[in-house]
């Protein structure tokens, strides 16, 4: 499945957002991580059940140093 993740195009086999993160090697349990799908934030507790579809725009962010 073709997904747009953090502005990059990726071909993944994922069925849910949790799968996407696993395939990318990103641990959603790490403090300060959050995910949005097509412009809407998906709560951490829903990552396991949030299905992904062809062409989805996914943002995976974290808290970093900044002013």
């Amino acid at each position: 499945m073709r997904l747009h993740i953090n502005g990059e195009e990726r071909e993944l086999v994922a069925a849910t957002l949790a799968d996407v993160l696993r395939e990318l090697g990103i641990d959603p349990a790490v403090p300060g991580v959050a995910v949005a799908q097509n412009g809407a934030v998906v709560p951490r507790a829903r990552l396991q059940v949030a299905a992904v579809a062809e062409g989805d725009r996914i943002e995976v962010v974290r808290a970093v140093q900044g002013g």
Binding site: L24, V30, V33, A34, A36, V61, Q65, G67
Partner: protein
């Protein structure tokens, strides 16, 4: 020679603390965590500054590098109030999504709202700021808006429900200091919510000037992180913030053009009186 005592400050009771949205802080200094050499230096500078509120940014995780080390491994969330920002956002939509992501990422309703209008000066797009603030306030965010030192915009942000306003003193990271103390004074007389000077501070005296004007707090980052010795500068900023606040609460003497002797004028040895 007796002199009339100066007036008590107009804003805030002496010894009062920075307070907004049901939260109270002993320190009136807020610091950013950007531009440090490493996480350890960031943590030490935050500690030394005495700040209780520290800002963080929200950024995409690199798909190549993964999560790796996190700032949050070095900053104790139990010790600090984390204030996520929407730095780098040039549209209302981006700022709103970033704020919502920050809420999910950090479990906080606080957001330092930036909607930028120009990449060279990083001046805010106040029209976008007002739009984004209105939406986020309706969603229950505690919106702390980074704005220009415009008393009318600050009043509008207050009327909208922002519990603080954060006018810039000079462009972000410029270190130019308090460029328009008169506007800050007008803002202080215009709004009732705390006024936190955000951006432009270069050194300790700038912080002191802002606090002596009666500002309720100062938010800074580059002035510490970019200093030759950031840890020492963090302490300088802490002391300047406290000194400036004490001076404000004390009520400074009025400026006068001519001298006023500190020693008694009577009983001077000698016979010549000009």
């Amino acid at each position: 020679m007796s002199q009339t005592r100066s007036q008590a400050p107009a804003r805030g009771e002496p010894g009062s603390q920075l307070s907004f949205a049901g939260r109270t802080f002993r320190s009136r200094l807020l610091v950013g965590t950007g531009k440090y050499k490493d996480f350890e230096e960031t943590a030490r500078a935050c500690e030394e500054s005495g700040a209780e509120i520290i800002t963080v940014a929200i950024r995409r995780i690199s798909l190549e590098r993964g999560t790796g080390q996190s700032l949050l491994d070095h900053i104790d969330p139990a010790k600090y109030t984390l204030l996520p920002n929407t730095a780098g956002c040039y549209t209302v939509e981006d700022a709103i999504l970033t704020a919502r992501l920050a809420r999910e990422a950090l479990g906080t309703d606080l957001v330092k709202l930036e909607v930028l209008g120009d990449p060279q000066t990083l001046f805010p797009d106040n029209r976008g700021l007002l739009q984004a603030a209105e939406i986020l306030l309706k969603e229950g965010f505690v919106v702390m808006p980074y704005t220009t030192d415009d008393p009318v915009i600050c009043r509008q942000l207050e009327e909208m429900g922002c519990p603080v306003v954060m006018p810039l003193a000079a462009p972000i990271g410029s270190g130019l200091g308090i460029r328009n103390p008169y506007n800050l004074r007008i803002i202080l007389e215009t709004v009732k919510v705390p006024v936190i000077v955000d951006a432009g501070v270069g050194t300790a005296s700038d912080v002191a000037v802002a606090m002596e004007l009666g500002c309720d707090g100062v938010l800074l980052n580059t002035a510490i992180a970019g200093a030759g010795d950031p840890i020492k500068m963090a302490r300088a900023m802490k002391l300047a913030c406290e000194a400036g606040r004490l001076a404000y609460e004390s009520g400074r003497i009025p400026r006068r053009l001519y001298a006023s002797a500190s020693s008694p004028l009577e009983g001077v040895v000698g016979s010549i009186t000009p």
